[in-house]
């Protein structure tokens, strides 16, 4: 974890309210898939808090993020231009357990919902690079809510797209093709599901995995003030026994953001 000053290489709009930013870093930082960063335009006075964004891509000395503007924090980020600076604390959080895929040869099913996709992109790339059998399920409300779909498609693994309104791919929820394929696929080795998206979607994915006996890892979001464990704001309620006592609340920023689906009280 380092607090660095990143310099904007580009910060471009992908779709209404979606942006893609690339920051050059003053030093190399090792990033694991699923990790995130806390960002704030340098010198910004209001709003005070940094925003958490999944690391979409990491090179030796640069990182990329894809973000959906909900309020004034990320709105302020959209106004930062090439050559300007962004304070960035990274890398934060844990990573996806992948032994079951890379060592045991199970299939990896990545289920992304909207802007949950950046949290899965490095994982997809890593697993494809290791020759794993990776399938991506990407759901969005409309065709404008499939940020960086082209980057997933460029990885070469099969990508199934759904939209709530049918404006791209299958009409309906992304859990429909997932369920279909899980039934069709039910083989001896089974699958490991990795998912990031809206809470109800992840809850449903977790339930599907439990029904089918597939392992499932979810990448959670939570309101964060610090991103590195000092505020104890970002908690999620976990099931008894899933973590060492005494806490039923675990911090998403340090114990997560990746959790086994069955550990979460949905």
């Amino acid at each position: 974890m380092k607090d660095l000053v990143g310099t904007v290489e580009f910060n471009r709009q992908l779709a209404p309210r979606y942006f893609h930013i690339r920051l050059r870093l003053p030093e190399a930082v090792g990033v694991l898939s699923g990790q995130f960063a806390m960002l704030r335009p340098q010198g910004l006075v209001e709003p005070i808090l940094r925003r958490a964004l999944a690391i979409h891509r990491a090179d030796a000395d640069a990182v990329e993020f894809i973000y959906l503007v909900l309020g004034r924090g990320l709105e302020a980020l959209t106004r930062v231009r090439e050559g300007e600076n962004v304070d960035v604390l990274l890398p934060l959080g844990n990573t996806y357990p992948t032994d079951a895929v890379t060592l045991e040869g199970r299939r990896a099913l990545l289920v992304a919902g909207g802007v949950g996709s950046p949290a899965l992109f490095m994982l997809a790339g890593d697993l494809v690079a290791k020759g794993a059998d990776v399938r991506v399920y990407f759901g969005g409300r409309t065709k404008f809510d499939l940020p960086a779909l082209d980057e997933f498609e460029a990885l070469g693994c099969p990508v199934t797209v759904t939209t709530d309104d049918g404006s791209a791919g299958e009409r309906g929820f992304v859990t429909a093709p997932l369920e279909r394929d899980l039934v069709a696929d039910a083989g001896p080795n089974g699958s490991v599901i990795y998912t990031c998206g809206p809470w109800p979607m992840m809850a449903r994915v977790g339930a599907i995995a439990a029904e089918r006996g597939a392992r499932c890892f979810v990448s959670l979001e939570a309101s964060m003030a610090c991103g590195f464990g000092i505020c104890v704001a970002c908690v999620v309620e976990v099931c008894e026994g899933s973590f060492a006592p005494p806490f039923k609340y675990q911090k998403v920023c340090t114990e997560g953001p990746v959790f086994p689906a069955e550990a979460i009280v949905w």
Partner: protein, 319 residues
């Protein structure tokens, strides 16, 4: 990590509060630094004056359900609900590692009854490497039906006296800002034996989502912190400084060395940085360096000369 050595320290920054010598007047605020160790990857803990831990209770606490925070204009609301690992676990798991650093450690302590405080202090008395206690008295008093101990000078004095009877280390009492008479409260605590006062804790606030009509904090009310509350905090430090002789630790919206200086001038001997560490994790070390720079620029010999140096003579015209 190699610790800051004596020689790398600016001697002009040293201060003493409640008999505790700090290398410099910059401390972390309770609840805004975990148990201190979370900063290890970011900076050498020996560079700051002190660490004031997350509030500890005799037994571990689960805290409140989320959402626990909400950002507000130049500030934030929190209702963490004092989730903590308990005094025992702190001493076993955290304290030994904190001893690697040359930094003063204050344990923030709270409870719902006088006995809760006394029990926690009894435990912490055994902790090797603790320099002092800070009492958080902004908790609802379960005995008195939920009234806040820190809003009632009698109840606050009672807790202070009880703790002072058992405490083997200096006791700093932390004031709630949700009161009308700071001076009276400060005097009551001084009489009760407090070795120093720290102020302020958070202002009680509420934020409502107008779409769901639900409070944005599961606990409904939360504590307001951050730059928004700084003027209230400076005022209370100034009022307390006029009322008591014991030293004061200023807290509330401090983000930079300049902010820290403002509190020193108002009457504080040291300060704590809270919310700022969330959005600027290096805020404390930057403030330490900034204080040295301020002394260089102004020619002031030491930070302790700043304490209480507010100039109340009438300002020149034309302002």
């Amino acid at each position: 990590m190699v610790s800051a050595t004596e020689s790398s320290r600016d001697p002009r920054l040293a201060v003493e509060v409640a008999g505790i010598r700090f290398h410099n007047p910059i401390l972390t605020a309770s609840g805004c630094c975990g148990y201190g160790l979370e900063f290890e990857p970011l900076f050498d803990l020996s560079r700051i004056g002190g660490i004031c831990t997350k509030g500890l209770s005799a037994k571990p606490l689960q805290g409140n359900p989320p959402p626990r925070i909400q950002e507000t204009p130049a500030g934030m609301l929190n209702a963490i609900g004092l989730q903590n690992i308990g005094a025992r676990a702190f001493m076993e798991q955290k304290l030994p590692r904190l001893r690697d650093y040359d930094v003063r450690v204050l344990t923030n302590v709270f409870g719902y009854t006088v006995d809760d405080y006394v029990e926690a202090i009894h435990m912490l008395n055994d902790g090797d490497g603790i320099d002092g206690y800070e009492l958080n008295i902004s908790c609802p008093n379960v005995k008195e039906g939920g009234l806040i101990i820190g809003n009632d000078p009698r109840a606050a004095a009672e807790v202070t006296e009880a703790v002072k009877r058992v405490a083997k280390r200096p006791v700093i009492v932390k004031l709630s800002p949700n009161i009308s008479d700071v001076a009276g409260m400060a005097r009551a605590l001084e009489s009760a034996g407090a070795d120093a006062l720290s102020l302020i804790n958070t202002l009680v606030g509420v934020s409502i989502d107008i779409h769901t009509r639900r409070p944005r904090i599961a606990n409904v009310t939360g504590g307001l912190s951050g730059p928004a509350i700084r003027p209230v905090a400076v005022r209370m430090v100034w009022q307390a400084a006029g009322a008591v002789k014991i030293p004061l630790v200023g807290i509330g919206g401090i983000a930079t060395a300049e902010d820290a200086v403002e509190f020193l001038i108002a009457g504080a001997t040291a300060v704590q940085i809270g919310t700022a560490s969330f959005y600027d994790p290096l805020a404390t070390v930057k403030a330490v360096d900034g204080l040295s720079a301020y002394l260089d620029k102004t020619g002031v010999a030491s930070v302790s000369e700043l304490t209480g140096s507010i100039d109340l003579s009438p300002p020149p015209r034309g302002h």
